[in-house]
Symmetry: C2
Subunit: 276 residues, 2 copies
């Protein structure tokens, strides 16, 4: 197949690198900044530098830009996309994006299948991309009414480039779960390192500091957009989290050992039941 990757950042770069390393598909790289695409071509991680017109050759187009930029790109260049070909995004939020892209797919005659590769790093840009970034990771698919065959083509491609789990979901379930599994840890990490104690942690910290603070090394522009476009599920999860922190806080403040032990034991039980 001919696969076009639009946006050669860490995710788009990883798609190109994984496609070249693990498959025989032909890769067309499209990027606003030309020098990055030229660099990718020199490295052999794409076969061709494309323009929007090249989308007429692609069997699959993967748009891995910021969420709203993805919709804007398709709006502007939808007319070049090959009829009947598959288009997917890589956006970390889905309720806002999927309906717009489904509508555009009907207008321009392509098949839209939403997807979200659950992988990342605390780095940005093409060079941070990694042919093994997706190894064992979850590939979330929001079919959004796409035909079964097209969904299968995308799922099989995901397996080829290393994903370990394929999970079909709806935009609503996706956004609610991502608020919990991904966005809350990012909010927490930032809130945590803003403590005045943080710069003095060296020598006093072990694995738990490292793990909680890791994702504070955040792309603030991207994550602001992701948080705001997932406002309702995220603020709901933050309220749940706040109530749970407050319960533990009160038990400590009131020196109520019984309640405190119970609360911690509940946490322990959740992890035990999940086998984690």
């Amino acid at each position: 197949m001919k696969i076009a990757v639009v946006g050669l950042g860490i995710i788009g770069g990883s798609y190109c690198k994984a496609l070249k390393a693990h498959t025989n598909h032909y890769v067309i790289g499209i990027n606003r900044t030309k020098s990055v695409a030229e660099h990718a071509l020199r490295l052999g991680t794409i076969d061709e530098i494309g323009t929007p017109e090249s989308l007429g050759d692609a069997d699959i187009t993967i748009v891995s830009t910021y969420p709203q930029a993805c919709v804007d790109f398709i709006k502007e260049n939808g007319q070049y996309i090959k009829k009947g070909s598959i288009v997917t995004d890589a956006a970390g939020i889905k309720r806002k994006i999927c309906p717009q892209l489904t509508e555009l797919s009907q207008k321009f005659g392509f098949v839209y299948v939403g997807s979200h590769p659950m992988a990342g790093k605390e780095k940005n840009g093409f060079d941070a991309g990694d042919e093994n970034l997706f190894m064992g990771a979850s590939f979330l698919i929001t079919p959004c009414g796409a035909d079964h065959d097209s969904v299968n083509v995308l799922a099989k491609l995901a397996i080829e480039i290393g994903f370990g789990t394929i999970k079909m979901t709806t935009p609503e379930e996706h956004d609610r779960m991502i608020a919990f599994t991904s966005q809350i840890p990012h909010v927490l990490a930032c809130a945590y390192v803003l403590s005045p104690s943080c710069p003095n942690h060296v020598g006093f910290s072990a694995g738990s500091y490292r793990d909680v603070s890791r994702v504070a090394n955040i792309n603030s522009k991207l994550w602001s957009e992701l948080f705001l476009e997932n406002k309702e599920p995220l603020t709901e999860e933050l309220e749940v989290l706040y109530r749970n922190i407050l319960e533990i806080y009160k038990a400590i403040k009131n020196e109520d050992k019984e309640t405190l032990t119970e609360l911690l034991e509940k946490g322990h039980q959740v992890k035990q039941q999940l086998g984690e």
Copy 2:
């Protein structure tokens, strides 16, 4: 040297295993439950099953029990400890423990040097102990008035068994920093997994869920004691954290992208400046 390890849980077990694997010191294991000590002897991770009377032979005694149990053990058995020998604990809190042990050292004629091995696992018990648990970890020492030579003997032993950093501190600084680096992540992890969304995370989660939730698999009895005996620094840090979460929450709720991006960028900058 002859080294007595009192309490063969994960930390005491790791001390025994590390001492046998990486040094030639003679190890005396003392444990309330006899069968665990017998198991340790069969495995060759101790040279001798000791009783409190055996402390008369030890050049260094490491008491790795729960914090208050450590004080109680020394109160009860201090008379057996060899005069002039070194006694250390392994407690994760220091303001409450160190003054009591310093007083007991004067009463019984041993040298007390406080210490806290910054290492652990989400498992308990002797079998969870690991000869490499301390590799590269921080060894925090609260000298509490002990002579320089004794402090050095303990520091050198820590290096021998794998610790990567030796950090001298006071009980006050220790407890303030540990509230931030270790206790807050444990509170957060428990509060986080208590969300009703948690049991459904499978397939939707990646590294950030795994990292934040990891230490929720907690020893609720031990950590309740640690939290309550470090009440002031911990509740202060929890208040700081809560204010920071609230600021981010409000920015999302008010769709204030500028403030939100600024807050996340501050988090990013802290990590960048720490080179993490």
